[in-house]
């Protein structure tokens, strides 16, 4: 990389104002050709806004973007792609019922004969070692494989800058390693990569430079290899991090939640049901369930919470009491509360106030209903307590749930369930998309709840979270749960292999002969 070469991308004084919030405040940094450049920051730090302006989805209010030294105005994503900017989004836009080839063809700007397109796709896959059968239906692919479609789609345009938005949040450790190989190869050929993440270990392993944003401002541009994860995290959050505090010499109690031979029926075409799942969670224990997205986690949560009912009342017991045939209300009354993964529209109603959202799950345990009428005073008081105890940034109990940011809504939802002091709490993705500060607060609250003698089940795709939080760990793959193992006795590689499970095998047998 010649120092005299112009920067691939240079931002100078980029500013973007939204009503009530300055999303980007005078941001300036440059990306060199062939550089892997991390963009690091908490949720709401302004990363998404910034890359949306680079990709032409939004326009900056002030500032200049230079591309290979020339000032440019990027009016829309098509213009961005024309310049040579590709982007792989965190959420994929794929049609499940179509094949890989058909999905890629649909996203192309120009039209290309499918035979030519297939030839080009195979060429790109071969060059970068992206293994994928173009004729497979997307519904049969793992998340990692789906992400490869998006990457291939971007690479077909021969980009000079590839933006990756939180690419590893849904991948197994092995898939992450494969992705890094591809990215390193790309960078070696001169393609710059702007890598958005808040996973510090990955940034240390992959990136040459890191630009850290906080509250819309650029805090620091540093070399991640010279920093520790902790020092970068502190720059990102602004204050010193708190570690999870656990009481010493903790003893696990008697079995509390016993799940035996739990199965669910297949409900939708692409759903994965749970199959013959058994596990036991003792009082005071945090039981983690790892796994790649789409392996039956949703069905397992719904079966535990009571949204899906099984046929056997003894399949789920709490302190020996059979819960298998009770609906969510019945299970809550017995002390089992749950938090599903999807916040808006499932765990909370965006169009309702926070107080009304408290009525949704806390009405029976906290006596908010008398003679069929809702005691809105009690709901408001409880909601106020949740807001205060969990530092939810909201105007008050009357705020609409949908007006809260994702992280704040998650803090509210977790608080709403935890303050009910359930004897069993089942949560899915408790800190998905939540910034590090809020994640630490949620983790601490879970640990504290367990310390009071509750049994907790955490379903998550974030292995670091599970390893830090849980006493016991099991892996779900294609609806089946592996044997539970104490966290101290299991290696990341072992878990990764279990997570890859069957997917890894099918991948090898169906891979494109390169």
């Amino acid at each position: 990389m010649d120092a005299s070469m112009p920067l691939r991308l240079q931002l100078t004084g980029i500013t973007k104002q939204f009503p009530g919030v300055l999303a980007n405040d005078n941001i300036s940094f440059g990306v060199k050709p062939g550089e892997i450049h991390a963009l690091l920051g908490e949720n709401g730090a302004g990363k998404s806004t910034l890359v949306k302006m680079i990709y032409g989805i939004m326009q900056p209010d002030a500032g200049e973007i230079r591309w290979n030294g020339e000032p440019v105005v990027i009016t829309n994503p098509k213009a961005a792609r024309k310049l040579g900017i590709g982007m792989v989004f965190q959420h994929f836009s794929l049609f499940e019922a179509l094949t890989v080839l058909e999905n890629i063809a649909l996203g192309m700007d120009g039209s290309l004969k499918s035979r030519e397109l297939e030839a080009r796709i195979r060429e790109v896959m071969h060059t970068y070692g992206l293994l994928l059968d173009p004729h497979r239906t997307v519904a049969t692919l793992s998340v990692g494989e789906r992400q490869r479609i998006e990457i291939v789609r971007a690479l077909l345009l021969d980009p000079k800058l590839l933006i990756m938005d939180e690419p590893t949040s849904v991948l197994t450790p092995q898939e992450v390693e494969q992705l890094f190989e591809v990215l390193r190869k790309l960078a070696a050929q001169g393609c710059s990569i702007l890598y958005i993440s808040h996973k510090l270990d990955e940034i240390k392993a992959l990136c040459d430079t890191a630009t850290i944003l906080r509250g819309g401002k650029l805090v620091d541009t540093c070399d991640p290899k010279q920093e520790t994860s902790r020092s970068m995290a502190e720059k990102m959050i602004g204050t010193g991090l708190r570690d999870i505090v656990r009481a010493k010499g903790r003893q696990l109690g008697a079995p509390k939640l016993v799940v035996s031979r739990l199965s669910t029926h297949k409900t939708g075409h692409f759903d994965v049901p749970v199959n013959d799942v058994s596990f036991t969670v003792r009082a005071g224990e945090i039981f983690g369930i790892a796994g790649v997205a789409g392996n039956g986690q949703n069905a397992l949560l719904d079966a535990l919470s009571g949204e899906i009912l099984g046929d056997d009342k003894e399949a789920i017991t709490l302190d020996g009491y059979p819960l298998g045939l009770l609906n969510t209300t019945g299970r809550r009354k017995r002390g089992l509360c749950a938090v599903p993964e999807e916040r808006n529209g499932h765990a909370a109603v965006g169009e309702f106030s926070l107080a009304d959202n408290s009525v949704l799950t806390a009405r029976d345990r906290l006596g908010m209903v008398m003679l069929g009428l809702i005691n809105s005073g009690a709901a408001k008081t409880y909601t106020g307590k949740v807001i205060a105890d969990f530092a939810v940034k909201a105007l008050g109990p009357g705020s609409m749930a949908g007006s809260l940011s994702g992280g704040n809504l998650q803090k509210y939802i977790m608080g709403r369930e935890i303050l009910q002091r359930p004897s069993v709490l089942v949560v899915s993705q408790p800190t998905w998309g939540v910034d590090a500060g809020a994640a630490a607060a949620i983790h601490q609250a879970l640990v504290d709840l367990a310390a009071e003698g509750s049994a907790i089940v955490v379903i998550s795709q974030d292995l670091d979270e599970l390893l830090a939080l849980c006493d016991t760990l099991a892996v779900i793959n294609l609806g089946r749960l592996s044997a539970a193992r104490p966290v101290g006795e299991v290696s990341v590689e072992e878990i990764g292999l279990l997570m890859g499970g069957v997917h890894g095998a099918t991948e090898a047998s169906n891979a494109v002969p390169a």
């Binding site: 098509k78 209300t329 499932h346 109603v349 009525v359 069929g372 009428l373």
Partner: protein
């Protein structure tokens, strides 16, 4: 050049409540233009339909009597629509409610006592519920769309009237007219203002709306309707069964339509006649939306629609407007209302050239 609808981040609450007013005003303006263009006195038509019923105090009692069934049915529909249960067949439930009341009136003919009217009302409510139970059963058991079944059952109910009043219930002294005998005094709804046609159904309508408002805003039942309609997934998580909600919504809206039916037959009609179905059940759909699915709003919306009914009759005699004109005006109100709602929730953006498909 294309147009694209983009969801607004936060729809204006003020506009949500101004839309009904704007819809009525737009209806008057566009209605005047259309009727002028086809050769009627357009401005006169709007004046007679929308203003005369208000300025002529003699018409006020008509307003009350027409508004009462619209409000009662509209309240029931607003509850069902809140839960995303689309009962379009209130007209049929209204008819069956009226028939059930008629059956009690005829069966008790010759008897006397203050229990007859309450019994008729009970029969009317149960009749409406029973008729609404058919779409509810089909929806919850076989997943048949309630919009289609409830609408089609309306036409079946009209045939039921024709059958009953031509044969088993025909007035023996009616000189061959297809109608039942006049109800006995004990089976007629009393008027509450002497010298007017304002009957007991009018205060009942206001009471129904007030009670419904209280229940919808304060009770678990109201909460259930709202949460199932807004976020069905969250409702299941909150422990509310979707099927139970469909049943409740259908039974409440059907029961109230049946109540309106029995009050109509015992009040203004006082016998069952072929002209009993007067589209109140369909107009109440407009009333529910115009009232923003809020029982208190339904009171005002019911009055507005009653104005068009009364005014339509006035315009027929004064400026020779056809009866169908009323329907055109009512339909325009709904059209502008739904269009206005769309614009409150979305903004229209002009897109130049072919829209980029984008990879997002």
């Amino acid at each position: 050049m294309l147009f694209r609808l983009e969801k607004r981040r936060e729809p204006s609450q003020l506009m949500r409540y101004l839309t009904p007013v704007a819809a009525v005003v737009l209806t008057m303006v566009v209605g005047a233009i259309i009727f002028s263009l086809i050769g009627y006195d357009g401005i006169g038509a709007v004046r007679e339909i929308f203003l005369t019923p208000l300025t002529n105090s003699y018409k006020w009692q008509d307003l009350g009597v027409k508004a009462a069934p619209l409000i009662i049915i509209g309240v029931g529909l607003s509850i069902a629509y809140r839960a995303n249960v689309w009962n379009i067949g209130a007209e049929g439930q209204y008819v069956v409610g009226g028939l059930a009341g008629t059956w009690v009136a005829l069966a008790t003919h010759g008897l006397n006592g203050p229990w007859i009217l309450p019994l008729m009302v009970l029969a009317g409510v149960l009749g409406g519920m029973a008729y609404a139970a058919i779409p509810a059963l089909l929806r919850t058991r076989l997943n048949v769309n309630e919009i289609l079944t409830s609408l089609m059952l309306t036409y079946a109910s009209v045939q039921l009237i024709y059958y009953l009043i031509r044969a088993p219930w025909k007035d023996p002294m009616g000189m061959g007219f297809p109608q039942t005998r006049l109800f006995a005094e004990a089976a007629r709804l009393p008027t509450i203002l002497p010298g007017t046609i304002v009957h007991l159904g009018v205060p009942i309508a206001v009471l129904v709306a007030l009670v419904a408002w209280f229940i919808m805003s304060r009770s678990v039942f109201g909460y259930q309707m709202r949460v199932v309609g807004t976020a069905p997934h969250a409702a299941r998580y909150g422990g509310f069964s979707e099927n139970k909600t469909i049943w409740l919504a259908m039974l409440v809206s059907g029961g109230l339509a049946g109540l309106a039916g029995v009050l109509e037959v015992a009040g203004p009609f006082q016998r069952m006649v072929p002209g009993f179905p007067t589209n109140y059940g369909f107009t109440a759909i407009i009333v529910a939306f115009l009232g923003r699915l809020n029982p208190l709003g339904v009171i005002f919306a019911g009055l507005v629609m009653a104005i068009t009914f009364v005014g339509g009759e006035v315009a027929q005699t004064t400026i020779g407007l056809p009866n169908a004109a009323t329907g055109i005006f009512q339909a325009m109100v709904l059209f502008f209302l739904l269009g206005g709602d769309l614009l409150v929730r979305y903004r229209v953006r002009r897109v130049h050239g072919a829209a980029a498909p984008g990879t997002a």
